[in-house]
Structures are given as structure tokens and as C-alpha cells.
Amino acid sequence: MTYSVLSQALAQVFDPYVLWVIFGSALFGLFVGAVPGLTATMATALLVPVTFFMPPVPAIASIVTATAMAIFAGDIPSCFLRMPGTPASAAYTDEAYAMTKQGQGEMALGAGLVFSVIGGLFGTAVLIVAAPALAEVALKFSSFEYFWLVILGLSSAVFLALGNPLKGVVSLLIGLLVSSVGLDNPAGHPRFTFGNAELAGGLTLIPIMIGMFAVSEILRGVAAIDKPWEMAQAKVGNVFRGMWGLTKKYPLQTLRGSVLGTAIGALPGAGADIAAWMSYAVSKRFSKEPEKFGTGHVEGIIEAGASNNSALAGAWIPALVFGIPGDSITAIVIGVLYIKGLNPGPTIFMNNAVALYAIFIVFIIANLIMIPLGVAAIKSAKQMLRAPRELLLPVILLFCIVGSFAINNSAFGVLLMLAFGIVGYLMEENGFPVAPAILGMVLGAMLEENFISSMIKADGRLMAFFERPIAGSLGVLTLAVISVPLIRAFFRTSMGVPGGGTKQ
């Protein structure tokens, strides 16, 4: 049984069409990742309209490949420009640039590549093992458990976000508000529609995502158009030189980065960028030579570089098993899964086993072809980074227009994209994280539905939410996650230390 599923999955992946899609998406991902201001999430949002017309396996394969490549390629401009290619590389951008300045750019780039591959493969292995096991448990879940899972996901999105948690809550509430527009609620009553037919169906998520992740980045790029990119010179020969030595010298760091990355990825709402920040901090904290951090030391790059790529795969665990996204990328992916008939949830392993194993295989392939393609990307980094922004940004913007239009074949999508592009830009500029808003939009309907149906089942008794064993434990865990930071914040302010504050 398993054997035939596996061979069918292999046959689906090793189809020439799918392989071409993987190859093309890999190049796309490398370019998007390497150019600062174009992110992995943006790559996903832009790929969605294109994947609309593909069969399920190539559609998901293109997203998996492009994002894996983009997260690695984000390390490249860190070395040359002191700018992260994607937010996931921001944690160690200064470190990588310092290495280039000391003539060790080759080693920084090599470590970025090799440990991205290792972290990516580790995360994939955990995904393959953990997702089916978790699905067995999840089969027994009722609306009470799902209610707590959604609340747990939303609160970890708020509290894991960088900066002020209060702003995270505001962001989350904005997302929930957006999700409540339209007829699609348990009562089937039109909400916030203002008699408009476009609004009655609810706000379509893809134009919103393209707005928040692509248009807002373009606005930021346009605003910084006068700031020149200064390229640091780095001689790049064989990027694999010395890598075996690093692997032997830092095995614990590699493992720790991969484990923490997978875990952070699997927690809803926090993705590769937060994983990298945390791993870099952990690496410095437990290093034998913490004083070298920040001066061009490879240790933190190894740990955080493995971490962000493993987070990418980890994020798919809750996305596939519960339909709760692990990061912004899987928040978009979940929509694609529904469109392709691969409805996420514990039954996906029974109903769509072949497609699911095909996705797992694509994860492995993406991380393996990263080795040769990554070397090629590093070699051609200078050309990629010289792509003129004044031509690139308008072309991407036209692509955004067509993508937003394509979802419903309506100009309303373009308007929605513009509105949320401006909202996303203003939020980020003022220290409001965008990820909780996205999670709120994706999970709002699920939250309301499971709450209402639980309340009807329990006849309005709130204690019913704690009466089933798993629901009870999840409930207590959630309340702990919410209350610990609140209590800490309370004590901090009562002791006279100003709490919070923005990062900008």
C-alpha cells in the first residue's frame, strides 16, 4: 500500500512538466530572494495566480521550490550589499558583511548555502515524520479542540512577533475584522457589505496578500529609490572550500539551529525570519567565543542559516494537519490547497496521500538542487544585484495588477490590492507586524465557526471548553501562553521600567 503510494508519488514528481516547473520556480526564487526588497512571501503571492491553472502537484511544487531557494538566496546580498535579500536573513546580515570586508565573503556565502541545505533537509524530515503522526491524533479533534488550536495559533503569532505585542494584537484584530466581511459566517448574515455585491462574497485573500506583501514592498523600494546600492568586492572561487571543516567544527550549532527553526516554523504565525533571529541569539548565548559575534564570525551564520530554511518546512506541519498556517507563506498556501482540492486537515493523509507524498518529495528535490543552482546564483550575484530597480519595480507592479485581476477577473481585486498595499506599508513603517493580520484573515472564519458550534453543543456553558481531555490541556496551555507575557509586562511597568516601545 505505502509502496504503491510512494511509486505513484514519484511518478507524479518525475514528470517532465513538473520538473520544468520546479526548475523555473527555482530560478525565480533565487532571483527574488537575492534582490533586496523582493521576499519569499512576495514570491508566493505572485506565484498563486500562475499556479491557478496547473494541476495540484506542480502548483504546490512551484511554491515549495521558489520559497526554499528565496530563503537561501536572501543570504547573498547580505555579503555584497549589507542588505538582507529577504527578512529571514536580516539577523546575520551585518555578520556576513563583516566577513566579506575581511576577505572571507567566500566562506560566508558557502556557509549560507551548505547550512541552508542541511537545515532544509532536516525540516523536511521532521515534516515527513511528524505530520502523519499528528494527523492520527487530530482525527479525534472536535470543534472544542479546533477552537483552542486557533486561539493558540493566533496568540503565538502575536507574542512571537518582534516588537510591541500590543501592536501585534491590533494587527491580529484588523485581520479578524477583514475576515468577518461578507456572507460567509455561521448565521449567513451579510456583514459590512454596504449593499455591494463584491463585498458580499467576502474579501478575496490573494489580492490582499499581493497588496500586503508585494505592493507594500514596492512602495518601500520606490521611497528608497535615491539610495544607491554599494557593492562590496568579494572574490568568490570554490564556495565549498572549508565547508567540511565547518560541519565538523559546529555540529551542535547546526542541529540546534535546525531543531529550533523547525519548532518556530511549526508554531503558527512565526516563520523563517523570527527563527533566524532566535537562533542567532541562542548561538551567541551558548557560544564559546561570544565576543567574536558581530565582527565577522561564521558560527551564528551557520546556526541561523540552518534555522531559517528548516522553519520553512516546519511551517507546513500545522498547515497540512490542521489548516492553521505556520508562517505567512503557508497562510497563502492554504488557500491554494483548498482550490486544488487538497483540503488541509487530518484526513488529507487518507484522501490525498499520493499528492501529499509528492509534495514531500518535492521538498527533498528542492533542497538538493539548491546545491548546484545556489553555486550558480552566487557566481552570478553581481549581475542579479545590478538589475536596475527603476525598470524592475514597474514590471513587478504590472505583474501584481494582472495577478490580482486574475483571481476573480475583476478590477475590484486591483483596488483591494492597492488599499491593502498602503495599509501594509503604513503598518510596517509604524511597527505593526503584518503576519498576525494575515493569520487573522485566514483563521477568522475557522475561529468563529468553531466557537459558535461549540457554544451550541455546550448550550452556552463556557466550562465545556475544558471538559474534553485534549481540549482542556490545549485550553490551559493557551491561557498560559497569553497570561505569562501579560503578567511579565505588568510587573515590568509596575517596577517603573517602561515596557514595550516600538522598534523603529
Binding site: 495566480p49 500562475v50 491557478f52 491553472f53 500590543l166 501592536k167 494584537v169 491590533v170 484584530l173 484588523i174 479578524l176 475584522l177 468577518s180 459566517n185 455561521p186 448565521a187 448574515h189 456583514r191 459590512f192 505592493v215 514596492i218 512602495l219 520606490v222 521611497a223 528608497a224 529609490i225 535615491d226 536596475p388 530597480r389 527603476e390 525598470l391 519595480l393 514597474p394 514590471v395 507592479l397 504590472l398 505583474f399 495588477i401 494582472v402 485581476f405 486574475a406 477577473n409 478590477a411 486591483v414 483596488l415 490590492m417 492597492l418 498595499g421 498602503i422 513603517e429 468563529e448 466557537f451 459558535i452 457554544m455 451550541i456 452556552g460 517602561p498 515596557g499 514595550g500
Partner: protein, 125 residues
């Protein structure tokens, strides 16, 4: 809705309460004395014109694309954006034309998105 304790207004109501609460807390905590702070790029004429042109261009597309057609609308906004961001005419024209044609062909032909023809309907292919 009558007879239902948890009707359609319950969820948005909760969100509203949350937003009021968080808004009040944020306002109480704020330390800056200014209502609106402007970013640095406001001093660069090109950046301001660029940001304005992005918004204007997208609105222009929404308003006129259905009768001006995709080709002309896309060309106009591409050229506007590239010129304002500082590209030379020599680069702007070929890149804008190629980008418009390639994006149109790949979405209209390969992905079968009915991009509007507008007044050029009789040239449709």
C-alpha cells in the same frame, strides 16, 4: 438576530471592543508629542513622485482599463513609472513594450485570463 445568543454581530462586536482597548492603551503609552511623523524620503522629490505615481497608476488602471484596454493602459503606467523613477527613454520604451506583451501573452494565452481589450476589441486575438 432574535432567539440567538451568539448571532452574526457577536464576533465583530468582540473585535471592536478589542480594538478600542488596544487603541486606548497604545495612545496612553505613546511618548512622542507629535500626531503625524514624516519619513526621511519625504525630502526626495523623486521618491515622493514615485510613491504618488504608484498609487495614481494603480487607480488609473482600475478606472480606465476596461475601456482603454490592457495594452494601452499597461504601457501608459509602465512608461510613467519608469520615467519618474529615473530610467532613460532608451531603456524605458523597449522594456515597457516587452514587459507588457510578455505579461499579456502569458496570462491571456497561457493562463486564459480575460484581460480587457476595451476599445481595441476588434483587434483581439
Amino acid at each position: 438576530m432574535p432567539g440567538q445568543k451568539f448571532g452574526p454581530a457577536w464576533f465583530p462586536g468582540l473585535i471592536a471592543v478589542g480594538l478600542i482597548l488596544c487603541g486606548t492603551l497604545l495612545a496612553a503609552r505613546s511618548q512622542k508629542g507629535v500626531l503625524v511623523a514624516f519619513p526621511d524620503w519625504i525630502r526626495s522629490a523623486r521618491a515622493v513622485a514615485g510613491v504618488a505615481s504608484v498609487i495614481a497608476g494603480l487607480l488609473f488602471y482600475v478606472l480606465v482599463a476596461h475601456w482603454l484596454g490592457f495594452y494601452l493602459t499597461a504601457l501608459v503606467i509602465q512608461v510613467m513609472w519608469m520615467r519618474i523613477l529615473g530610467a532613460s527613454w532608451r531603456l524605458t520604451l523597449p522594456v515597457a513594450v516587452i514587459a507588457t506583451v510578455v505579461i499579456h501573452l502569458s496570462f491571456y494565452k497561457l493562463l486564459r485570463i480575460p484581460l480587457p481589450w476595451g476599445i481595441f476589441e476588434r483587434f483581439a486575438f
